[in-house]
Subunit: 248 residues, 2 copies
């Protein structure tokens, strides 16, 4: 997949993609954010759409450029098209250009009205290797509950993405994409609780998960006195596919 | 709300809205379609987005222009951005222009690549008064199961809209928007069955609906021997709002 630079003139005007990249780290749901160079403003990973590029491919490209990952769980959830989302955009871009020592040559392009197509991605954050673009000098995984005021309407985009993630947690088994290959029932429950924003009853949760018939339990190896080590589980891809195709 | 003509040059390039207008008629789920003048090609109601217009307002305007209705249940569900959706678009537009006796002057505009933002609307079809645009000479409510090959990727748009409608039927009480003010339990069940594409058990359905605590039962008037007339119900707006706000 080619790494194409922004502002080369082969992009569609007025349309962009923004990606909410969710990861699960130390029992918290986090979002990957980028900081503009020499500036305190943080933003989502985003980009433009090539004139000869599918919209979904543009989102995949942005994700690959920023995280090094391909074949990520990626879901389009909403297109943000209010006029007011671009209010202040010119001033913000001028400020950022100034901080970066850039000229305002590209400001005509950046000050266009942009309608942005929102995607969320679910990643195993341990696999992410962040690559900054030329506009950024820092990145961070920030807790969804502690996100500062972001560039343009990116706070709103995250909030809406989270609502969509919540509503698809049961029907699309989305949460499993945030976990490593094997996990304990307790870790799985924590992911669900973090996405849903509420505490779940352990026994009910376990019963529900097992009743879905999508998990393989990995047999414990004999390891001396560690009889109390929790079972490890793995999502059974075939059973999960059967579940997903029966869900609609 | 102003009725603005297409091709006036004050539209955003490359972006459009398409509206799947669902209605419920004689126990069938239908979609409102428009036929191009002097041509056999049918399409969804759609339009462009004004340079100074919110995307959602563009969808509302298209609906209002075609149905005369305002304050319609309207849901953005997916943005269609594959390159291939425009394959054949130029030829199709040429054919339509030829059939209509129009010149191809606007073909540069129409042959742009378009990314289309899909909305579905749920309407009480009895309230709809269809107004054709200058491009159409006929309209029809077509059964979702019997839709012919449509303009561009409009079949795909309807199919995707229906999937989204299905997945929100429980959490958003969407089905009620297809019914008149008062309805029988049997009519409500039929709407659900049509959207879900399957037969439901009457007693279970009734129990479930009543347990939601969102319906008012209208007392029967004494009408001679008509003791067996079914009860009429009405959605209680306040209770429905409480249900919806607790659903997430």
């Amino acid at each position: 997949m080619p790494n194409r630079d922004v502002l080369k003139g082969d992009w569609l005007p007025n349309i962009s993609v923004d990606c909410v990249i969710f990861g699960f780290q130390e029992n918290h749901l986090k979002v990957l954010l980028l900081k503009f160079r020499n500036n305190k403003v943080w933003s989502l990973a985003g980009g433009f759409i090539g004139k000869e590029e599918d919209v979904e491919d543009a989102a995949k490209r942005v994700l690959w450029q920023r995280t090094g990952l391909e074949n990520i769980y990626l879901q389009q959830f909403h297109t943000f098209g209010d006029l007011k989302r671009n209010i202040g955009a010119i001033e913000k871009h001028q400020e950022i250009n100034l901080a970066m020592g850039r000229s305002n040559d590209d400001l005509n392009w950046l000050s266009l009205r942009y309608i942005s197509i929102g995607y969320y991605a679910l990643v195993d954050y341990l696999k992410v290797k962040v690559t900054l673009n030329e506009l950024s000098d820092d990145s961070a995984w920030m807790d969804v509950d502690q996100i500062p005021a972001l560039f343009l309407d990116h706070n709103e985009i995250i909030k809406t993405g989270l609502v969509h993630l919540r509503s698809s947690i049961d029907t699309k088994l989305a949460a499993f994409n945030l976990l490593p290959e094997t996990f304990t029932m307790s870790e799985l429950q924590k992911v669900y609780e973090t996405i849903l924003g509420k505490v779940l009853v352990r026994t009910n949760f376990q019963r529900k998960m097992l009743s879905l018939d999508i998990l393989d339990r990995i047999e414990k190896k004999y390891s001396g006195g560690a009889h109390k080590a929790p079972y490890l589980y793995r999502l059974d891809r075939k059973k999960a596919e059967a579940f997903l195709s029966s869900a609609l």
